[in-house]
Structures are given as structure tokens and as C-alpha cells.
């Protein structure tokens, strides 16, 4: 029970025209095994306003939201809806009180149509389904909030932005008065974010309450009427008044100290070409996943690949790492051909690869740190763990990995520590000294401290002369780290720019496929 002081920043008062409080939560505490996710948290939202829950990953935002909508139950504390006490035993109970959540990972059945998804679980659905009338009703609700969707489309065929719209329509169809949007912009390109914000304004204008959950300061300031900041499961501050907020102050409340995620670029001229990709194409079941990609990465250079998820990033990384066979084109690492020779040959040429999927691809969750270090090395017929143990212990120390010992199971590591184990293994080389590092979304889901460490490790590797290909959906990260930026859209490079010259608007537009100026 330390650090109990609430830092409260008062903004301009709105008390004169304040709408009634639609939902409030008081002294909410929620414990998970080993974690105090929410510690005596207070929160409320008024009708017609956007109240943001701000906090970094693991601060307890999503847990609080899950309790507000009935998905989890608090260990203690209580909630009021329009001043009346409520107890939400399930999301259904939440819906009955007009509270709905739009999850970060969409809760949609991909095989169903839009309309089927919208009506699923609806209480006033008749026993037999009349498709025509359902389609019409769903379309009507969607149009009334300016959210055009085709009720007959199969959700699996829709883009991420469209799916989010389906989620929102679903909540509105079920009569939601309070919508909780969990990290809604994480998966959207800038243009889609603008569209989402328009929809949010349309909903608040209609008297709906929006609980906006985010860790991105810029957009929080833009959209919020009020902001509540969470850190380590506790409320560290309240800020109110749109556009009047200082992002520096919010960042300090969120992290608890000043953070340094400043721009870092190569400090010295780059050297030889380490990775050369020529006219690389990949086709699967008649779909072009990668088309005619050519670029180089030099010694001591970091090249960033920007793009919205699902535009070929994973395929590009997997192809370079030898996990996928390209349909045509060539890859060379350190001057030697690596095309279609498999992952082990690529590693023998000096490739290291940190995949996006840390646990499950980069690391084997049920295995120890020691065994995970062996994953990309030569293991002989009888595995000699004893000779690797000293190195494992040294790496744990060097990379400041929080683990009991080398036998610590990977699954039990925090996200940041798992990423450090992965980086430790990949940077320390296995079958050959690392010349080329391919990293995918290296900081996704990490807290700020870990993000700083990971960025520093990547920068150190670059300074040490390694060539780095950084593939990330986090545009800010690419903008502040990469020496060169390539934008991947539908499997093709549609834009190329130098890191220091990059314009957010231009890169964002290229990511959305809106312009193809400056195509490589």
C-alpha cells in the first residue's frame, strides 16, 4: 500500500452544462493470480461524453473495462447505473443495462454474415430467423449512425476497419447506451482513425457515452472530454477539458517518470549491403501475397517496413527467414544466395529473426530459457545442456532478464522479459555470428520500460554494424527508429522515404493505399 497519493490535475470546469452520470464504478479492486490488476479504482462516464481510460500496457485499463461490461466481476467495490446500484454477473447483464464493449480482438464469427453477427445473442430475436427482416433491421441501425455496412457480407471477407464498424453496429443494435472501445485505433490506419472519430462524435451527439481505452497520447487529447489515467492498477490522475491537455503531463501520469523514446538514427555511414532482395514475389492459392519486391539493407542500417497488418509483412519476414518459398525472385544474405534454402541455411549465413509471435513461434512456451536458447542452435544427437548453461546465465544477466535462473519456463516470463530472451538469443548468434536481424513488432504489448530497453538493444545492434529490418505496424516506432522507411501495401512496396524526411501524413496515406507517389 505505497504510493497512495492521487495526482489530480484540474482542467476547466464544465459543471454548468454537465450531463447526468450514466455509469460509475467505485473502489473497484480485481486480483488475478500474482497480479493486483485494479486497486480501488473510481471511474464514471456521463451521457454524451467521451471519457478516456489512459494507461500503458498492463496498467489495468482492459481489466476495468471488462468489469464495467460484466465480463469479469470485481473482487470488491460497486457500480451505479444512472444512480442505481447494479451487479453485472455476465456480459449479458451488462447489455441489459445498455453497456457494451467493442473488444480489441474483435468478437465476430468469421464464417457468419454481418447481419448474423450483429443479431447473435440478441434477446429479442425470434426462434426462427427471417433473414430478410434481420438484414433490413441491421442496415437501418447502421445507417442511422452513418456506419454503412452490407448486412449480407461474410465477416471473414471484410477489412479490419469494416469489422470494427460491425462491432459498433452490433453494440448499437443491442441498444447500447454506453460503449467501451478497447484500443480501437490500434489496428487502423490514420484515415480510418479519422472516420472512427467521426462515428464517435455522431454517437455522443445522439447521447451515447463512450469509454475510450488507449495508450496513444495524441489521439487521447483529440477525442476525449475527460481522461482518467491508470498506472499499475491505480488511478494516478484525472484530466478534463478537450484539447487543453498537455501530452507531457499525461505521459508522466501514465508512466510515473519522464520517458525517453526519442528519435534514434544511424550515427555513422552505412556499409556494405547485407540483405539484397530482388524482384521477390510470393503467391498462394492464386493470391499475390508479395509482388515484385526489391530492396537492400546495409551494414549498420535499420530499414523500417510500415504497413497495416495483413499486407504481406509476415510473409516477407518468413520468406527472408527461409520459412516460405518465394514464387520468384531472389534473396541474398551477406552476398550468398539464401533463396529457398530453408531456415537453417539462412541462419548459417548470419540471419537472426525475431518474429511477431513471441511465445509460440519465437519461443516455446513450455520450455525453459535454457532450452529456448537451444532452439536455433546446432544441438547434436544428444542435447548437451550443461555446456550451454553458463552462457544462458550470462545472457540473463547481460540482458537484465527477470528470471529465477536458466530453468525458468518461458510461459511464466512477462512480455518484456520474453522479448529480451528472444533478442538475447538472436543477437548473440547461434549457427553463425549475426549479420542481419529481422524484427517484427518488437515492442507490441510491452510497457514503456521494456520498450525503451528493446529500442536501445536494437540501436546498439545497429551501432555494432548489424543490418536490421524492422517490420512494425506501429508507425511511430518506425518513424523514430528507421533510417529508411518502406511502405508495404497489398504485398507491394508503394512508398519509400528516408527516415528523417518522412511525413506522417504521406506515409499514412501510402499505408492506406491512397497514393502511390514515390513508389519504389
Amino acid at each position: 500500500m505505497t504510493n497512495t497519493s492521487h495526482e489530480v490535475v484540474k482542467g476547466p470546469h464544465h459543471s454548468g452544462d454537465a450531463a447526468p452520470i450514466a455509469l460509475s464504478a467505485h473502489s473497484i479492486t480485481k486480483r488475478f493470480p500474482g497480479v493486483l490488476a485494479n486497486d480501488s479504482v473510481d471511474f464514471d462516464v456521463r451521457a454524451g461524453e467521451v471519457h478516456t481510460l489512459l494507461g500503458e500496457n498492463g496498467a489495468g485499463k482492459s481489466t476495468l473495462a471488462a468489469m464495467l461490461c460484466g465480463l469479469y466481476q470485481p473482487d470488491s467495490g460497486y457500480m451505479l447505473r444512472n444512480g442505481e446500484p447494479i451487479s453485472l454477473s455476465s456480459p449479458r447483464a451488462g447489455l441489459q443495462h445498455g453497456i457494451a464493449m467493442v473488444h480489441q480482438h474483435f468478437r465476430l464469427v468469421e464464417r457468419f454474415t454481418v447481419a448474423e453477427n450483429v443479431v447473435l445473442g440478441s434477446r429479442n430475436l425470434s426462434f426462427t430467423l427471417n433473414r430478410k427482416s434481420i438484414d433490413d433491421k441491421v442496415a437501418a441501425v447502421a445507417e442511422s449512425y452513418g456506419l454503412p455496412i452490407d448486412p449480407q457480407a461474410i465477416v471473414g471477407d471484410l477489412s479490419v476497419g469494416q469489422r470494427q464498424r460491425v462491432e459498433i453496429v452490433k453494440a448499437l443494435y443491442q441498444g447500447a447506451e454506453i460503449l467501451l472501445l478497447d484500443e480501437p485505433t490500434a489496428v487502423l490506419v490514420p484515415a480510418e482513425v479519422e472516420k472512427l472519430f467521426e462515428n464517435v462524435h455522431a454517437m455522443t451527439a445522439a447521447g451515447k457515452s463512450i469509454v475510450f481505452i488507449s495508450h496513444k497520447l495524441g489521439e487521447v487529447v483529440e477525442i476525449s472530454d475527460r481522461v482518467t489515467v491508470l498506472r499499475g492498477g491505480r488511478v494516478t490522475g484525472h484530466v478534463s477539458g478537450r484539447g487543453t491537455t498537455d501530452t507531457k503531463e499525461l505521459a508522466r501520469l501514465m508512466v510515473g517518470r519522464d520517458i525517453n523514446l526519442s528519435t534514434q538514427r544511424a550515427s555513422h555511414p552505412t556499409g556494405h549491403e547485407v540483405l539484397q532482395i530482388r524482384e521477390l514475389s510470393l503467391e498462394s492459392e492464386g493470391v499475390n501475397l508479395l509482388s515484385n519486391i526489391s530492396f537492400n539493407v546495409h551494414e549498420g542500417e535499420m530499414v523500417g517496413i510500415a504497413g497495416v497488418a495483413g499486407n504481406g509483412q509476415r510473409e516477407l519476414a518468413d520468406t527472408i527467414a527461409g520459412l516460405l518459398s518465394p514464387t520468384s525472385g531472389s534473396i541474398s544474405i551477406g552476398g550468398a544466395m539464401a533463396t529457398d534454402r530453408g531456415p537453417i541455411a539462412a541462419r548459417e549465413l548470419g540471419l537472426a529473426y525475431v518474429p511477431e509471435d513471441r511465445l509460440g513461434m519465437g519461443l516455446v512456451p513450455s520450455m525453459s530459457i535454457l532450452d529456448n536458447l537451444l532452439l536455433t542452435r546446432d544441438r547434436r544427437i544428444i542435447v548437451d545442456r550443461a555446456s550451454v548453461r553458463p552462457e544462458a546465465t550470462r545472457l540473463i544477466e547481460q540482458f537484465e532478464i527477470k528470471a529465477n535462473d536458466a530453468d525458468h519456463i518461458a510461459r511464466k516470463l512477462s512480455g518484456g522479459n520474453a522479448q529480451k530472451v528472444l533478442l538475447a538469443r538472436e543477437l548473440s548468434g547461434g549457427r553463425a555470428a549475426t549479420k542481419l536481424l529481422v524484427v517484427c513488432s518488437p515492442t507490441r504489448g510491452l510497457d514503456v520500460g521494456a520498450i525503451e530497453t528493446v529500442r536501445r538493444l536494437l540501436d546498439d545492434a545497429r551501432s555494432a554494424g548489424q543490418a536490421i529490418l524492422l517490420i512494425s505496424e506501429d508507425l511511430d516506432e518506425i518513424m523514430s527508429l528507421a533510417d529508411r522507411i518502406l511502405v508495404l501495401y497489398r504485398g507491394a512496396i508503394v512508398h519509400e522515404t528516408r527516415g528523417e524526411a518522412a511525413q506522417l501524413a504521406t506515409v499514412g496515406a501510402a499505408m492506406a493505399g491512397l497514393n502511390t507517389e514515390g513508389a519504389a
Binding site: P33, G34, D75, S87, L323, P343, D357, G360, M361, T376
Partner: protein
């Protein structure tokens, strides 16, 4: 309507060591208790049934050696099932692969036996049996590795086909495997050089020790070798295996073929041991199915399989003798096997989770 309690499952971060032995033990006791209630309900004597079973299965020198004798094939079937389970492959056709091991072994004993000395013949027979078992799983293994066809139903269907094959070899007149000059259809006994002598006056054969060594060897393979490491990675995360350049298809084939070979080996031990011939009675015994239960109860730990194999063997031996000693149907033995596994599965939840009931959060103000 809302229940006043919610059942909460908390994932244990660390499983207390005592639970690993405790859960199987309690499962066995719970199954015996359930069996007792069932026996009472159906009007059989509980004390008579159980005391006879235990007496004839464990607590008499005759019973104990019979138990160890039968455990040879059961442990073999257990490690066969467990080896595939290690990689999340469900070979439930160990039964049928066992039949083929018996067919292969009987063929070797009949065809080669007269020409080879014991010291060559016995190993050759066991290996030919193992090869026949592996051959019987080849198609399921191949289509699983290549096309992803679930091995569960394919291995099982082949058991039925294997049973028909055994019957064919015995019931067809003039079959190579059928004893000539006997009206009653039965198998032809293999050459003497293809048979081991039982230890003393028991029904235990030296193959028992061989199988125990095999189980320990497999334990070492899984824990200490590159092959075992690969199996663990592929079982846990196929994507990580691909990332590390492992060939999951080839490993799938290898693991399934070894699993089939172990089951075939188990069938062949019956030729060099107790049976000495191809016997259609094998299709009624369900040793392969028992192997699945044994592996599951031992949670695929090869050392623990030796223990659970002997335990189940005792239940079988004791159960089978009920026919002579009481009027309780012998099937109580198989029933108890199933019940033990069901309880062990339920108990597994207590090993993995802390389960507690909490009162629903009331509104407090």
C-alpha cells in the same frame, strides 16, 4: 435465476509435487469406490469381488507373477500410446498394431524358427513383429503427415481390419497359421527355438525385463536427445518448430512408426511368451485399449507407465479370475479401467487449477 456461487478456476503457476502422485492414487480409490457402489446396486458382493481381485492380482505369489507376466504386453502398449501422445498424436490403434505384431511374429516363428537358433530367432521374431506393427500404422502416419488426416479414426478403423485379418488366418481352412489336423480352428504353434521359457514355474518371461529397459530408454530419449527435444518443440508449438527449421512431417512419421512398432513388439512378446501361436482370442482382450488408459494415467511419463502398467495388469488378472472364484462378471475389470481414467481426468483439473467456489459479489454501498 443466478447461482449464489461461482466456481473459479485459477491456473496454478506451480503444481505442488505431492499432487502428481496423489491425484492418480485418489482416482484409483474413487474408481474402486464407484465400482463398489455399482456392484452393490447390481446385487453382487463387494467384499468378495474386491478381496478376490486383490488376492489374485497382487497378494499371492501366483497372482503377483501372473500380474508381472501380463504387465509385459500392457507396459509395451502403454509406452506405444505414450510415445505418440508426447507429440499430441493419438494412436488409438495400438490394439490393431498389436495383432499385426502377433501375425508377424507368428509368421517368423513358423517360417524361420525351424532354421534358426534361439539366440537369433527370438530377437528376429520380436523385430519382425515390431516391423509389422509399424507397417500397420504406415498409412495413418503417412496421411497424417502429408494431408493432416486425423490419425484417431484411421488407426482405429485399421484395428477392426486387423481383427478380420487375424480371424481370416485362423478360420480359413488350410491357412498357414492354422493348426493342421485339428478340427477346432486354432493357431499353429511356432518352433521351439522361437519360444522363451518362463521364469521358474511362473507365467513371467524375460521379455518383462526387456520391456522395462525399453521404457527407461525411451524416457532417456525424450529427455536427453535431439529427437526428444524436437518432439517437445513440435508438440508445444508447431510454428516454433517451423521457425527452427524442424521437419514436422518427418518427425510425425517417425513418432507414429515408432509407436506402431512398440505396439507390434508388444504383440510379438505374446508369441515368444504365453501364446506361442497366433490366437484369435487376442481380439477379445483389448490390451491395446488398456495401453491408452495406462499411458493417460501415467501422464505419458515412461517411468510411471511401468507402475500403472503393473497396477492395471493386477486388476485384469484379478478380474479375469473372478469367473472362477465368484459369479461377478469379469468385465468389472475393464469397467474399472475406464472409471479410473475418468476419475484421473477429473483429478487432472485439480492438479492444473486451484478450484474454489466464491460467493457472488453482492452490491455493497
Amino acid at each position: 435465476m443466478r447461482a449464489p456461487f461461482r466456481i473459479i478456476f485459477e491456473q496454478r503457476s506451480e503444481t505442488p509435487r505431492y499432487l502428481s502422485g496423489f491425484v492418480p492414487l485418489v482416482s484409483v480409490l474413487a474408481a474402486l469406490l464407484a465400482g463398489a457402489i455399482f456392484l452393490m446396486a447390481t446385487g453382487y458382493s463387494v467384499s468378495e469381488t474386491y478381496s478376490n481381485m486383490l488376492q489374485d492380482g497382487f497378494f499371492s505369489s501366483r497372482g503377483l507373477t501372473d500380474t508381472l507376466g501380463l504387465s509385459t504386453v500392457l507396459i509395451c502398449m502403454g509406452i506405444s500410446a505414450a510415445f505418440a501422445f508426447q507429440m499430441n498424436l493419438y494412436n488409438i490403434g495400438g490394439e490393431g498394431q498389436g495383432y499385426l505384431g502377433m501375425i508377424g511374429g507368428a509368421w517368423a516363428g513358423l517360417a524361420l524358427g525351424p532354421h534358426l537358433p534361439s539366440v537369433v530367432m527370438i530377437p528376429a521374431l520380436l523385430l519382425i513383429g515390431a516391423a509389422a506393427g509399424a507397417a500397420w500404422i504406415f498409412i495413418p502416419a503417412f496421411v497424417r503427415a502429408r494431408l493432416g488426416t486425423s490419425e484417431i479414426v484411421t488407426t482405429l478403423l485399421l484395428t477392426y481390419i486387423g481383427a478380420s485379418l487375424v480371424n481370416h488366418f485362423i478360420y480359413t481352412p488350410n491357412s498357414y497359421f492354422r493348426a493342421p489336423d485339428v478340427v477346432f480352428p486354432m493357431g499353429r504353434t511356432v518352433a521351439d527355438s522361437a519360444k522363451l521359457t518362463a521364469i521358474g514355474s511362473t507365467r513371467m518371461y524375460p521379455t518383462f525385463f526387456l520391456v522395462v529397459v525399453l521404457a527407461v530408454f525411451l524416457y532417456w530419449v525424450v529427455k536427453r536427445t535431439e529427437f526428444g527435444y524436437r518432439i517437445q518443440v513440435i508438440a508445444d508449438s508447431p510454428r516454433a518448430a517451423q521457425y527452427a527449421g524442424m521437419n514436422a512431417r518427418r518427425t510425425t512419421m517417425q513418432v507414429m512408426l515408432i509407436s506402431g512398432a512398440l505396439a507390434g513388439f508388444g504383440g510379438a512378446t505374446l508369441i515368444v511368451g504365453e501364446f506361442g501361436k497366433l490366437d484369435p482370442g487376442i481380439t477379445m482382450l483389448g490390451y491395446g485399449y488398456a495401453g491408452i488408459v495406462i499411458a493417460a494415467l501415467a501422464r505419458n511419463n515412461f517411468a510411471a507407465i511401468i507402475v500403472s502398467g503393473i497396477l492395471f495388469s493386477g486388476l485384469r488378472v484379478g478380474g479375469d479370475k473372478l469367473q472362477i472364484t465368484t459369479d461377478t462378471p469379469i468385465h468389472i475389470g475393464v469397467m474399472l479401467q475406464g472409471a479410473i481414467l475418468l476419475f484421473a481426468l477429473g483429478g487432472e483439473a485439480f492438479r492444473r487449477y486451484k478450484i474454489r467456489a466464491v460467493r457472488m459479489q453482492a452490491v455493497t454501498q
